[in-house]
């Protein structure tokens, strides 16, 4: 019996502890729940997130203003659904936000960059989109919508809802997901309309006038010379694709002082655009007529403005047809530069990493020591629009100083198409061949060379020898049309081009 009574007492003690423990756990859970709920309200989010513009844009969006009266709150999109990693994500973002709140100045945060769907995917959860929008085919969905959602069904891995529906949470008039049929209808009526193209009699710089438009642009005469293309092994960040260095002879040519601007590209668009799909092209009866772009999807200028800013998001094909059209309306042979011409024009007689002084090592933001020491921005910031000074958008050419040939934005602002097919080992074929005259690159390929880096590039990519290439599939991944546009890239906004004019051989 004694035995049992001890046991009983022990049992009671256990029970007391158990009940106490349960109460503590219950209270803890309750308080976590309360804290979690209190810290998940819109007003709580807004109290620290010092982005009044995001708050205002949200109130204008369909997630706050819609006919059903349902309001979708901050955490409904910016955290995963409960039971799908909600608390882990809440803690993760919370810690990050507190850190940013205490260490960063809101003015220094690149809000423009945050609007980019790829960037926004880091703090906008696709699971949350489909958690509420579980029916991708509501009966009210249009035929085009049906096509787009079928495409999403087949490409779920590479697509997020916000790739197309970026402005549903924060309204942005420049990011409407629809055909932009008004695009390019500029009104320049008060300016002079040019009737004749430029008359060029000598090999010197000239201003080209596009007939029947108010648009002109500058062309710079580049004398032919022999130069060394590619980078030496000992250049910081030199890569195999830039080697071996080759000796190249270039014939004289003109090249645009700046990248082709929206004004120039829109002159082309206004004169050649087709409103619909491939079918429309077949209807054109004039065999000589150049068929230009279809209406773009959304706002190709990203809302940054057009005018003298470089034209972007047009496809390589569109750039080529632009040159064809320019050739036709001016009577001069315009085309894209070859990769060799581009590098020659960029180097402008220099053999350093850049045509200005400085080492990529000091300018680049890459590497462990950048945690402690900021990269050097003096000098480079005068000549190039790049990640450190662009606020994630393009600028008018007047923002930078020219290179020794007088060219603007060769490095930075936007990548530029070259006519060569891209191949990693493109220079290898010229090895031990002495001086190569006007090389035009590999005979065939699948993607084209792009050069010069862009507003979102690190200083490494701005090096004169650096090479990259088009990514046709990636750049069209969210184009909902079937087939995808031949004229506009839906998912590239940092590539443009500049034109070259050939000297008349006669």
């Amino acid at each position: 019996m004694a035995h049992r009574s001890i046991n009983n007492r022990k049992g009671k003690k256990h029970l007391t502890f158990f009940i106490l423990g349960a109460v503590v756990v219950y209270l803890l859970t309750l308080s976590i729940g309360i804290v979690s709920d209190k810290t998940s309200t819109d007003s709580y989010c807004i109290s620290c997130h010092v982005h009044t513009q995001a708050d205002a844009a949200w109130k204008l969006s369909t997630h706050a203003d819609n006919y059903s009266g349902v309001i979708v709150h901050c955490v409904d999109c910016h955290l995963p659904p409960r039971g799908q990693g909600y608390f882990i994500a809440k803690v993760k973002h919370g810690v990050k936000d507190v850190y940013s709140y205490w260490t960063k100045n809101p003015e220094d945060i690149d809000w423009e960059k945050m609007k980019d769907p790829e960037e926004a995917a880091h703090f906008t959860y696709n699971e949350s989109c489909v958690n509420c929008h579980s029916n991708l085919f509501p009966s009210t969905l249009s035929d085009d919508g049906g096509d787009a959602h079928l495409y999403y069904q087949q490409n779920r891995e590479s697509l997020n809802c916000i790739n197309c529906h970026i402005s549903v949470g924060h309204f942005d008039k420049n990011r409407k997901h629809e055909h932009n049929l008004e695009f390019g209808s500029n009104n320049n009526s008060e300016k002079e309309v040019f009737t004749e193209p430029a008359l060029v009699e000598k090999f010197e710089d000239f201003i080209e006038y596009i007939p029947n438009t108010t648009v002109s642009f500058e062309m710079v005469a580049i004398k032919g010379e022999i130069f060394t293309m590619g980078s030496p092994m000992d250049e910081s960040f030199s890569q195999t694709k830039e080697r071996p260095q080759i000796r190249v002879q270039i014939s004289p040519f003109w090249i645009g002082r700046a990248e082709v601007s929206w004004d120039e590209f829109l002159a082309f668009y206004a004169q050649t655009a087709t409103k619909g799909h491939a079918d429309d092209m077949a209807d054109k009866t004039d065999a000589d007529a150049i068929t230009g772009p279809t209406a773009p999807w959304g706002a190709p200028d990203q809302g940054w403005g057009k005018g003298k800013r470089p034209a972007i998001t047009m496809s390589f094909h569109a750039a080529e047809v632009y040159c064809e059209w320019l050739t036709k309306v001016t009577g001069k042979k315009y085309r894209l530069p070859t990769e060799a011409e581009w590098e020659f024009a960029c180097r402008a007689g220099t053999e350093m990493p850049y045509f200005f002084v400085g080492d990529p090592k000091d300018y680049s933001k890459k590497g462990w020591k950048r945690t402690f020491i900021d990269p050097v921005t003096e000098v480079i910031t005068d000549y190039a629009v790049y990640a450190e000074n662009s606020h994630f958008k393009t600028y008018e050419p007047a923002k930078v100083k020219p290179n020794p040939f007088g060219l603007l934005n060769m490095p930075g602002n936007v990548w530029e198409f070259c006519s060569d097919w891209y191949e990693v080992e493109a220079y290898r074929q010229y090895e031990d061949q002495g001086t190569i005259v006007n090389p035009t690159g590999p005979a065939e390929g699948t993607e084209h060379v792009i050069r010069g880096g862009a507003f979102d590039s690190d200083a490494i990519e701005l090096r004169s020898a650096n090479r990259d290439h088009t990514r046709t599939t990636d750049w069209l991944v969210t184009d909902p049309q079937i087939p995808k546009s031949a004229w506009w890239y839906s998912d590239s906004k940092n590539v443009g081009f500049r034109v070259v004019c050939e000297q008349n051989k006669n």
Partner: protein, 445 residues
């Protein structure tokens, strides 16, 4: 597989097992375990093969496209069970409606004058009526628009195969099918082999491993020439083409799509997938009217070594035949009623109902044309949802992929055809002269 060798059908075997349950728990356990690896008809997505749909509240149907098949489909619907009514008709041509009403009258089915709608938009007026079910049986070109309209009008649908003539139409069908799914609207299609009891029983055997993994497939529909009409002076281009729709690719999809889709669908069904690409050829040797080919021979590649040879021809005095055949790692089958071992020895066959003389009748108990409608009505009345639009859209697209391969001479991939903006037919649907050139396609051009 013992049951196969004994020639006992799966259903018989199951019922035997149940009886054996009395023998002892251990035995039953073993037997049940041996069965559990087999998939049930429900797991295999097979239709309920009832002789008659269950009773329920009255279902009113409207028929769009009142030609021979349309009229037949409407009567099949009425035969599917009790409390079923046909109350509305729509067709482009008035006299087709008149003919249909005459045939219906013989069966004591009367349609009110104000429930008959003509013209290209007749179907839209029909959809506005109080209907539960819409039967779509016009030439295939019109199907996508009409199916989408039916789903918008929230009707259950029976639609004939093929469901479109081009990829644009296929995508319209797929999107509308998704909407139907979300709305709980049932859809049954006219690929009637999926509702033939012999095919269904054979599928059940093969899906449970009777011939192992499928290595090779053949599908063919070789027959004499089909009907055609010469143009009459009083007919405009549009009227002529619609009256002769079976001979114009934009209306029928060509016969590889319009007719051969039945066989293609069987192979897609048995293989459980759609082909990755097609290479093939075809041509026009004897056809009198229109712009279609009269023979095709296509290799459909499903990947992993599996190919379907598809043949279809509509020419008189040739070696003819219609059917399918598949060879697996352990045996082979005609897909419709027989399974053989690899030496060609029959190891299973479907047991048809016996006739008065006690011989096999060679016919399934319920016509597949009626079985389809029994399925639809059963689904509506029991809530056991069915939607065959996807499968039939994919098989139709398979046919379109083959047709494109033959017309162009190129290799055509599934992705390409799925994303193609090919859209057949004139810009506007109206009677009059049509400014379209109907050249027979030349491969390699």
């Amino acid at each position: 597989m013992n049951d196969l060798k004994k020639g006992v059908s799966r259903r018989d075997f199951l019922s035997t097992t149940v009886k054996a349950g009395t023998v002892g728990a251990l035995t039953a356990g073993v037997l049940l375990a041996s069965c559990s690896s087999k998939k049930t008809a429900e797991e295999l997505g097979l239709p309920p093969l009832l002789d008659k749909a269950p009773d329920g509240k009255k279902l009113k149907a409207g028929l769009v496209g009142t030609g021979h098949r349309g009229t037949g489909a409407a009567l099949n619907f009425l035969d599917a069970g009790s409390n079923l009514e046909l109350v509305a008709l729509a067709d482009v041509f008035q006299e087709r409606i008149d003919e249909c009403r005459k045939k219906l009258k013989e069966k004591d089915v009367k349609i009110a004058d104000n429930m008959c709608f003509t013209g290209f938009d007749g179907y839209q007026q029909l959809m506005e009526q109080e209907l539960d079910v819409v039967i779509l049986a016009t030439p295939p070109y019109f199907r996508p628009q009409q199916f989408a309209a039916a789903i918008r009008a929230k009707k259950h649908v029976f639609m004939e195969k093929p469901v479109a003539v081009d990829p644009t139409g296929i995508r319209m069908i797929l999107a509308a099918a998704e909407k139907a799914k979300a709305l709980g609207l049932n859809v049954v299609t006219g690929t009637q082999r999926r509702h033939r009891r012999d095919y269904v029983a054979t599928y059940e055997q093969i899906a449970n491993g009777a011939i192992g993994d499928i290595l090779s497939a053949k599908a063919y529909w070789n027959q004499s020439h089909v009907w055609y009409r010469e143009k009459q002076p009083k007919w405009s281009d549009m009227e002529y083409m619609i009256r002769n729709w079976n001979n114009f690719a934009w209306l029928s999809g060509d016969h590889i799509v319009e007719q051969h889709v039945h066989n293609i669908d069987v192979i897609n069904w048995f293989a459980g997938k759609t082909p990755a690409f097609a290479i093939g050829y075809g041509g026009r040797a004897r056809r009198k009217t229109g712009d279609q080919f009269d023979f095709f021979s296509i290799d459909f590649n499903y990947g992993r070594g599996l190919s379907m040879h598809s043949m279809c021809r509509q020419i008189d005095n040739c070696a003819n035949g219609i059917g399918e055949f598949i060879i697996g790692t352990k045996g082979m089958s005609n897909c419709s009623n027989k399974i053989f071992d690899l030496d060609g020895k029959p190891i299973w066959s479907y047991e048809y109902p016996k006739n008065e003389k006690g011989e096999s009748s060679g016919k399934v108990k319920v016509s597949p044309y009626v079985q389809e409608h029994i399925h639809l009505v059963t689904a509506i009345r029991t809530g056991n949802y069915v939607n065959h639009a996807f499968d039939t859209a994919f098989s139709t697209l398979t046919g379109i992929m083959g047709r494109t391969a033959a017309y162009t001479g190129r290799k055509v991939t599934w992705k390409e055809i799925m994303e193609s903006d090919m859209k057949l037919g004139p810009e506007k649907m109206e009677f009059g002269d049509v400014n379209m050139e109907f050249n027979v396609p030349i491969p390699g051009e």
